[in-house]
Amino acid sequence: MAVTEGAEPNALRDRVRKLLGPWVVPALAVVTALILGAGLIALAGGDPLSAYAGMLEGSLGSVNAVAETLLWATPYIFTGLSVSLAFQGGLFNIGAEGQLALGATAGALVGYALPHLLGVNLPAVVHVPLTILTGGVAGGLWGALPGWLKARTGAHEVISTIMLNYVALNAVTFLLNGPMKDPSPENVIARTPLIADSAQLSPIFSGVRLHWGFPLALLVTALVTWMLRRTTLGFEIRTVGANPEAAKYAGMHVSRTIVVSMALSGALAGLAGAIEESALNHRHELGFSQGYGFDAIAIALLGKARPEGVLPAALLFAMMRSGAPRMQFLTQIPVDVISVIQALILLFVAADVMVRRLYRLKGERERVVITRGWG
């Protein structure tokens, strides 16, 4: 009797399990972090329920709130894809922050200087794509560098991307204080001039700040998914990521694939910077990124380094960041709580054994190969 009843649901359950299986641990990691976060809020003298309600209201409570959340999500999606793509190739790109800064700087340069240089006003259909793509190319070249160093000399990309972040950020500081500094007399801070109107990515609807960068982010997510799954290049990237020895044996060009993976990863981060600058800031200025490139690592891990996982992870992080002011407005608890919750999520995703033990999950410990050793 039990057998006949169980047969049909079992097939269904298997399908559901196959579809949702990989996301059980990330989802539980988020839930656990929120529960611990609630305890923390209570300890800080706040009311966890109204804090979370405030966060939801602030991120999804109105049309404008949703628009602001998607606005926050845009750079997170691009940088999350950047880090994920590198993970797929077996590379740990910690350099997204630097690649993003260079992308924004290069984009700003094209945005304000190109019309003067050419002596003509460019139409927006040319100038906007040029601004954004230049940012992508700059980030891509900067990302390719540690890839090339690894392929050529074996220098580990974790070290070289961390170091290159400093080089990039200091180079940008120099540029913003020197050759690219806004020359207007009242300006005393490190920033470029405003980019031309024709280089500004416009909002989707008037009255909200949400801009075309978000649909672009969705499109790029689809493109990266397709590239990884359906193209030869994607297959090579994944194979090199999973097992470079086998890839080599199969006749793949491992060094070239490493350079290409890092270049694409850097390009995605560069796009994040250029789009943010073209659509929101309209200039590059120091301190414009509050660590999108580093949050991206957590987002990529939460998304299991898959493009389709990055999307919900980026939206979740965006909701927390975008809802934080409303949460604080209602409860007056420190916004640091958000950072702690995000750190806990990262901890539980990275140390998934804890989550599996806590919830007595069975199943093999399938893990994302995030990076390989020093070999």
Binding site: A38, G39, Q290, L330
Partner: protein, 351 residues
């Protein structure tokens, strides 16, 4: 069977976690109260900080203290939002304005543009921009920008330094004079020292030899410059301009001579120099904000650029080391400057 064990150890842990969270939230639930800011009797004050914490021992904190005083003395409802990313400036201002807060206080130069935009978008809300400036001719009716006379503050501590110095040699180590507030501190310091003691040996150095970003973040230069002055007999150092100025304070403390800070009470912000902190040339943000709020509560809102007060920090550990005559002279100078009886004669900017 495995199923029977489901409620053992770890699962029970999760349950405990859940119930803990629920219990704590239930106990805290009664505290939520939301004032009705649209009612004319309810005076609501919203504060938007610059990127950073509200208890930063600097501008954010000092402003918030002014609002807290308004809560106590004027019965105001005060709340703050700590900005985490510059792109949220406008959103955080709107969070208060949309809830019909009577006044939104924004802190610091960086919020200037967002505050002006907010004032234009919400004509029925009053705005106070702390340490912000409106170019003449562009002032908004519902926006009061609180500017501070750095030269007054510099003047007071300059006079104090001249009166307290035993060697007759005092020095100032500052970031670039191309930034007007730094210039006003430095020149005010000079003028005050000469006013109190015309024969004082003065050495004021600006870090003009590097770029704008470096000039405020060069503690090593600040420290070595201060030490070289001290080696030549200087016994009081005035340090100003971000980390560069803090470096000078630390240098003075390392050599065991008195140090004078800027902007806020740096006794609290530079613990390394605490024992030798004589005072700090201060912008009295809390008083400026409170005064504007009090006037507003009485229906007399200010607009345009409003000159706040400048003063000096308490002497803290060195209270017993300041002669009574010097103490009295500085108080007298502060009053005379504020009333206009005494002028610093420092032009607002260099050249």
């Amino acid at each position: 069977m495995p199923d029977n064990r489901r409620l053992s150890g770890p699962k029970a842990g999760v349950l405990a976690l859940f119930s803990l969270a629920l219990a704590t939230s239930a106990s805290a639930c009664s505290k939520s109260n939301k004032p009705d800011c649209s009612s004319p009797e309810v005076f609501c004050v919203g504060v938007v900080t610059d990127v950073g914490k509200v208890d930063d021992k600097s501008f954010n904190q000092s402003t918030w203290e002014g609002v807290q005083r308004a809560q106590k003395e004027l019965g105001a409802n005060g709340k703050y939002i700590e900005t985490t990313d510059p792109k949220d400036y406008g959103k955080n201002i709107a969070a208060f304005a949309d809830e019909k807060y009577d006044v939104v206080v924004t802190i610091g130069f960086a919020l200037g543009e967002a505050t002006r935009e907010g004032a234009a978008k919400y004509p029925d809300t009053h705005f106070i921009g702390v340490d912000q400036f409106q170019p003449p001719g562009t002032e908004k009716k519902n926006l009061a920008t609180l500017v501070f006379p750095e030269d007054y503050a510099g003047f007071q501590v300059g006079a104090l330094a001249a009166l307290v110095s035993k060697s007759g040699k005092i020095g100032a180590v500052l970031a670039t004079d191309a930034v007007p507030p730094v210039w006003r501190y430095g020149e005010g310091f000079k003028a005050g020292a000469r006013y109190a003691k015309p024969d004082i040996d003065l050495n004021v150095v600006y870090h003009n030899d590097v770029g704008i970003e470096k000039t405020f973040s060069d503690p090593e230069w600040g420290k070595t410059t201060a030490i070289s002055m001290i080696d030549k007999g200087t016994d009081i150092i005035f340090g100003g301009g971000g980390k560069t100025g803090n470096g000078a304070l630390i240098g003075a403390a390392a050599k065991g001579v008195y140090a004078i800070g800027v902007d806020t009470d740096q006794y609290n912000t530079v613990p390394e120099a605490q024992k030798f902190m004589l005072t700090s040339a201060m912008k009295l943000l809390d008083e400026g904000v409170f005064d504007l709020l009090k006037q507003g509560k009485d229906g007399k809102w200010s607009s345009g650029n409003v000159l706040g007060k400048a003063g000096h920090a308490p002497y803290h550990d060195l209270d017993g080391k300041v002669p009574e005559a010097a103490r009295a002279k500085v108080e007298e100078i502060q009053k005379a400057l504020q009333s206009g009886a005494l002028k610093t004669n420092v032009p607002p900017t260099k050249s």
